[in-house]
């Protein structure tokens, strides 16, 4: 297991956001945290990133306990829900920020920025500012910025929420392709089951701060283990989905 959480509990002002959360994500996997809003999925992501501290329980990354390690030392890249691009910096400066903080040499930074701009097919956008970009372009920049320092784990909080429905489908495929290409272990948060099924190869279903079920999309569809999962997953739509996509992905 690359990411592991054991017996995690977390409360905010009396609201129990995580109850005895235990999850594991294997290296190289693309996992989705799926659940209704308020089910505690973002809290889990933020605790892995070190943005919030669990009240009790342990978090392991690559076998080492990281509870007391600041987020910046955990080797993660984080894509925020609204991307949180630095609005007073250009696209290139945004991507370079993490490398500059690490005091990498100028040539190295420049090379890496060019590489990433090419990866997200935005070579000509380096000098633009975030407000001059479309939603999809912003997401791509946020993705490149998170990847710049070569993280071992990529965390994405509702990566498609701020994008209109038309472009969303296209971006899902793009993101999945990119993550496969880079080969980085990734966890993303979503409340959209279609999104989770289409993009992830492991789905972690959350409800009321608890983990309901962990499994591949197929397992969850064919063998829902709790009443909640049974009701939450629209299995008929899922069957149809599986007809179209599943075979291709299994093969």
């Amino acid at each position: 297991m690359y990411v592991e959480m054991r017996q995690i509990n977390k409360a905010f002002d009396g609201f129990q956001a995580s109850r005895n959360v235990c999850i594991g994500v294997e290296k190289g996997r693309l996992a989705a945290l799926l659940g209704p809003s308020g089910s505690g999925k973002t809290t889990i992501l933020r605790m892995i990133a070190g943005l919030d501290r669990p009240d009790s329980g342990d978090i392991f990354l690559n076998g080492a306990r990281v509870n007391d390690l600041p987020g910046s030392k955990r080797g993660i890249g984080f894509v925020f829900q609204n991307y949180a691009l630095f609005r007073y910096m250009t696209v290139a400066e945004n991507i370079a920020f993490g490398l500059k903080v690490q005091k990498r040499s100028r040539q190295e930074i420049q090379k890496r920025v060019e590489e990433l701009l090419e990866l997200i097919s935005m070579e000509d956008f380096g000098k633009r500012y975030p407000y001059q970009l479309s939603g999809g372009q912003r997401q791509r920049v946020a993705f490149a910025r998170a990847l710049a320092p070569d993280p071992k784990l990529l965390l994405l909080d509702e990566p498609f929420a701020a994008i209109d429905a038309k472009v969303r489908r296209e971006l899902r495929a793009w993101l999945r392709g990119m993550i496969e290409r880079v080969g980085v272990t990734s966890i993303f948060v979503t409340h959209d089951q279609e999104e989770a099924m289409e993009v992830a190869d492991t789905i972690i279903i959350t409800n009321l701060g608890r983990i309901e079920q962990i499994g591949t999309p197929k397992e969850i569809c064919q063998n829902p283990q709790t009443q909640f999962v049974k009701e939450f997953i629209d299995s008929r739509r899922f069957e149809m989905f599986w007809e179209f996509w599943g075979r291709e992905r299994e093969g």
Partner: protein, 276 residues
């Protein structure tokens, strides 16, 4: 923006413009004209004499000293306070935010009295200060303290909403990439708040220059020592030296006009600030 019902009746528009214009003229423009006209009533020579009078110059110096001190102290304080209250959540946060507004709700005269009762000879700290030969009341430090007190919410009030609305995402993103607190402030927070900060500093300075009540109580009106420009104007008035009073007032008017220009610039920049 909602497409609401627009009032297209031109009469209403012109009546409103006329009423506001008249109000502004009577309340603001007319008094300003009176100041300038009366200041120059006895000619340039008298005007020059009045504003180059040693006491007037000393008063101007003290006003500038008190204002600059107030702006400096309150800028540092306002930055810290707004950063603290917008980025951290803790018990008593609301109380602290409310406490910062106290100078807005307290009469400046009372504020001056409070300082006399605290630092004066009969005050709580009077004995201690006297033993160490520190003079606050009826001295320059008192004037500066009173000015700082009266103006301390301005920078905070301008900064806080801007910092609060900005959210923490960009700062968290920078922190996750390993940026340290000061780097985050310099590269992420500051560019966003700089025009609001400048605007707050200007308001603070404007208020500091015109402060009368608190300073009047604590200064003791010692000519050439603890007199600020507004106090000097009052003294001249009481001596029926109206021309001189108006001449000195015109200095304050000039300062205000400069500040107004700076303010408009800062406000324009604040509105123009980029972002999404």
């Amino acid at each position: 923006m909602a497409v609401g019902k627009r009032n297209t009746n031109p009469i209403v528009k012109y009546v409103l413009i006329f009423v506001s214009g008249l109000f502004l003229f009577v309340m603001l423009v007319l008094p300003l004209i009176v100041v300038v006209v009366n200041a120059l009533k006895d000619g340039w020579t008298v005007y020059r004499q009045s504003i180059t009078d040693i006491y007037a110059i000393k008063a101007l110096g003290l006003t500038l000293l008190a204002s600059v001190s107030a702006v400096a102290v309150n800028t540092v304080f306002g930055l810290f306070a707004s950063y603290l209250l917008s980025k951290f959540y803790f018990r008593g946060r609301q109380v602290l935010a409310a406490l910062i507004d106290i100078p807005f709700s307290i009469s400046p005269v009372i504020a001056g009295l409070v300082f006399i009762l605290t630092f004066g000879n009969i005050g709580w700290m009077g004995g201690f200060l006297k033993a160490h030969h520190i003079k606050i009341v009826f001295a320059v430090p008192g004037v500066i303290l009173a000015t700082i007190f009266v103006t301390f919410p301005f920078v905070f009030r301008e900064l806080f909403p801007v910092m609060n609305a900005y959210g923490k995402d960009e700062e968290e993103a920078a922190a996750l990439m390993g940026a340290k607190g000061f780097t985050i402030f310099r590269k992420i927070t500051f560019p966003h708040v700089k025009w609001a900060l400048l605007y707050g500093m200007i308001l603070c300075g404007a208020r500091a220059m015109g402060e009368f009540g608190a300073v009047s109580v604590i200064s003791g009106h010692l000519r050439g020592k603890t007199n600020t420009l507004p106090l000097h104007v009052e003294i001249l008035c009481n001596e029926f030296n109206t021309t001189a009073a108006f001449a000195v007032s015109s200095l304050l008017v000039l300062l205000s006009t400069l500040i107004l220009a700076a303010r408009s610039l800062a406000e324009w920049k604040k509105k123009k600030r980029g972002g999404n």
